[in-house]
Symmetry: C2
Subunit: 462 residues, 2 copies
Amino acid sequence: METIKNYIEANKQRFLDELFDILRFPSVSADPQFKESVLKTADYIKARLIDAGADKVEVCPTAGYPIVYGEKIIDPALPTVVVYGHYDVQPADPLELWHTPPFEPTVKITEEHPEGAIYARGACDDKGQMYMHVKAFELMMKTNTLPCNVKFMIEGEEEVGSSNLATFVKANKERLKGDVVLISDTSMIANDVPSIECGLRGLAYMEVELVGPNRDLHSGVYGGAVANPATILAKMIASLHDENNHITIPGFYDKVIELSDAERAEMAKQPFSEAAYKKDLNIDEVWGEKGYSTIERTSIRPTLEVNGIWSGYIGEGAKTVLPSKANAKISMRLVPGQNSDEISDLFKAHFEKIAPSYVKVKVTAHHGGEPVVTPTDSIPFKAASKAMEESFGKTPIPTRGGGSIPIVALFEKELGLKSVLMGFGLDSDALHSPNEKYGLFNYYKGIETIPLFFKHFAAMSK
Amino acid sequence: METIKNYIEANKQRFLDELFDILRFPSVSADPQFKESVLKTADYIKARLIDAGADKVEVCPTAGYPIVYGEKIIDPALPTVVVYGHYDVQPADPLELWHTPPFEPTVKITEEHPEGAIYARGACDDKGQMYMHVKAFELMMKTNTLPCNVKFMIEGEEEVGSSNLATFVKANKERLKGDVVLISDTSMIANDVPSIECGLRGLAYMEVELVGPNRDLHSGVYGGAVANPATILAKMIASLHDENNHITIPGFYDKVIELSDAERAEMAKQPFSEAAYKKDLNIDEVWGEKGYSTIERTSIRPTLEVNGIWSGYIGEGAKTVLPSKANAKISMRLVPGQNSDEISDLFKAHFEKIAPSYVKVKVTAHHGGEPVVTPTDSIPFKAASKAMEESFGKTPIPTRGGGSIPIVALFEKELGLKSVLMGFGLDSDALHSPNEKYGLFNYYKGIETIPLFFKHFAAMSK
C-alpha cells in the first residue's frame, strides 16, 4: 500500500498531464469530422502503454475505429486480467452550455471536489477512468508488483455502439483468453461511500419516422383536414406509458426477472437522499413506475425514454407549416431476463400497430446491448470489494447500475468471461451532458485501488 | 377588354422579366441574414411604381422593414382603391427538397400548367400576385383607363406577423383614406373554376417550452426516475384533441359563429374531389373534426396544429440523453366570433394548467390575427365577381379560406375599410413549402382582371 501511494505521489503531476493530453483530443466517434482526432488518440494510448512496459502493443484496425491492444504475460500459469476501456467520447453539444471548453481540460475546486475536479468531455467517461488502468499498470511494472498477467483492449466506438468490437473479439479469442474483464466506466455512490456495480441495464435504441402528406403544407390551407404527423407522433408516444408510468408495449415485461422482497430490502439500505437528488436536478418531484423507489426505477426496472424528437419548423420565429414528417429517437433500458433484439422487435411491432392509417411509419433499431449481473459471491467481485475496502477504508456496497455497457454481455458470450465493474465516477459527473467532470480524488484513488484488485484477484484465484 | 388583352400581349415578356427580377431577391423577413435583399426588393418595387406612373412613391421606414407607398389621385371625388400586398417571403428551407433553386425562378410546363408555371419562393405568395397589381396599374395608366384613385401599400413583414404595419396604418390614416382594400394573396378553386375568398380564418400562434431537470441527463443513470419533458410534452399535445378531433381547450369554441344548414349546403356545392386531394398529398385518408367535411374543416372550423416540435438529440446516430427541455410551436386558426388575444389567453391558461408539476412551463404568444368575412352583397365583392366573370367567362364561387391575413382585420379596425380578396393562386402552388409555383396563366389573368375590378368598382360606387 505504501509503495503504491509513494509511486502515485511521486508521479501525480505527470499522471495528470498525460490525461490532459488525451482529453484534448476531440475523439467524438459519432461525428466523422473528428476522425483524425480519434485516430490520434489511439496512437497516444499505444505510446503510453509501451512506455508503461506493455508488450505486443498494437493499434488494431477494424472496419471502423481501431482497438488498442497490449499485454504483459509474466507467467502463462497465472490468471489473466483483461482490461477494457474506450478512448472515444460523446459529442459535446450543446456547446453553448459548457462553462469551460469541452476539449480544454480545466481543474476547478468545488464543494463536492475540494481537491479539484477536471472538467472536460471524456474526463470521466471514459478517458479518466480508462487511463487509471494504464497508470496502475505502469505502477505495478515499475515497482515490480504485477502479480498476474494483464491484457489491454481499449476501443474507439463505445459511444456509437461498439459495432466492430464483436468482430474483433470473435477473431481474437486466443489472443484475448483470460479469467476476468476489469472495467472502470461506472460510478460509486459517493467519494466516502464506495460501491461496485454488480449489474447493468441493457439497451434497445429505436428510430421512428412518421410521414403524413408528401410535403410540408400551409397550415391554414390544409390545417384541420390533414392529419399532422407531429400530433400523431405525440399521441403514439403518449400512449407508451400508462397512468402508472408502466410501459404499455405488449409482452415488454414478460421476461423481467423480479427481485425478491429480501433483495429489494437489501437494495433499499443504500444511502440515498431524494431531497438532494431533486435539488441537484432542480426538479420539484421525482417520477416513475408506481410501486418502485427511485433507486429501483433506475436499476432493476426497465424504462422507455424519448432521447430526441423533431418535426416541422424549429428555427426562430413563426412558420405556419403542417409538417410532412415527424421523427423521434426512443430507447429502452432493459433488465436481466429481457433480450435486446426481442425487445426491439416488440417495440417495432407495437409501434407499427398503433400507428393510424393517416401516416406511414418506419421503425429502425440501432445497436443495443444485453443486461448483465455479476454475482457478489464471485472471485472477481470479492477481489474488487476487498481492494476498495483497503483503499477507501470502507466495505463497498454492491449496486445495480442504470446505464448500459453492451459489450459486457458480448465478453461473456464470446470469451466466457465475467466482467467486474469497478468504477470510480460519480453520478454528478454529468456524463453525456455539458460540463462533464472527474474528481482528482477519484482519479488517483482509482490508480491506488487497481493494483490492490490485481493483488487480491491473483491471490484468490490460486 | 380588347385594350387590356392587347397591352398584356405586347408587354408580357417584360412583365415576366420584371417579376423574375423581384423573385431573385431572397427577401426572407424571418431571417436577419437576408436583410440587404429585403431592402433591395423594396427599392425595386418603388422604381417600378414610378415607371408605371405612380406619384408620391416612397419607401417608408418603420421599426422593421419598410412599407412601399405610392398613389394616383385623378379626382378626389372618385372612390379610392387601396392595394395591399407584401414583398417579403417565407424561408425556403428545407433547401434540399427544392427541385430548382428557390431564388432562381424557373418556368416549367406541367400537366396542371400547360402554359407554364414559375417555380420560386414567393412566386405566388406574394410577389407574383402583388406585382400583377403594379402591372395592371401601369396598363390602366398607359391606356388612360384608370377610372378612380388608387393607393399602394406594399409591406415587407407579412410572413413575420406585420408587427410594424399597425403603427404605420395608425400614423397614416389620412394618407390611407379610401373605400376598399384590394388584396391578391389567396387562391381560386381551379384555373377553370374561379372563386373569391369572402372569409379568412384568424390566427393565434404560441410557443411553449417545458423544462424538467436543469441539464440534459444520461438516460441510463436517470431514466425511469426523472420525468422526461419530451414525453410530458407529447402527452400534453396529445390531450389537445379528443377522439373526435375536437379541441379540448375549455371555452375554445364558445364564440364560434356556426353556419346555418343552408349556408353549409351552399358551401357543399363547391366542386371538390377528395380522391384528387388525397392523391395530391399522397395520403390514404383525410382527417379532422367529426361531423364536418374537408372543405368545412379548412374554412369554417377552427383548428390547432403543431407547427414544430423539438427536444433532445436530433442529429445523426444514437445519443442516450434524457433531455432537459422540450419545445413546440403550436398555432390555431380561428373563425368569425373568435378573438386572437382571447384564444391565446385560453390556450396559455389551459396549457399551464395541464402541465404536471414535474416540469416548469413557459407559454408565449406570437402576433396573431382576427378572422374576417366580406359579405357577398357588398360592392367590393360584386365588383370583383363581375370582373372575374368577364375575364374567366364564369361566375366565381364565393369561398372561405383556411389561411389568415391578419392585417385584413387591422384595416377594418383602423381605416374602416373592408377588403376584397381577389386572388389568382391555386392550393397546389405549395405556399410555405418547397417548390412553390405560380402559373403564367394565373399571372396574366390577374393582370387582365384587375382593371376590370377597377372599372366595375368605380361604376358601382357612383
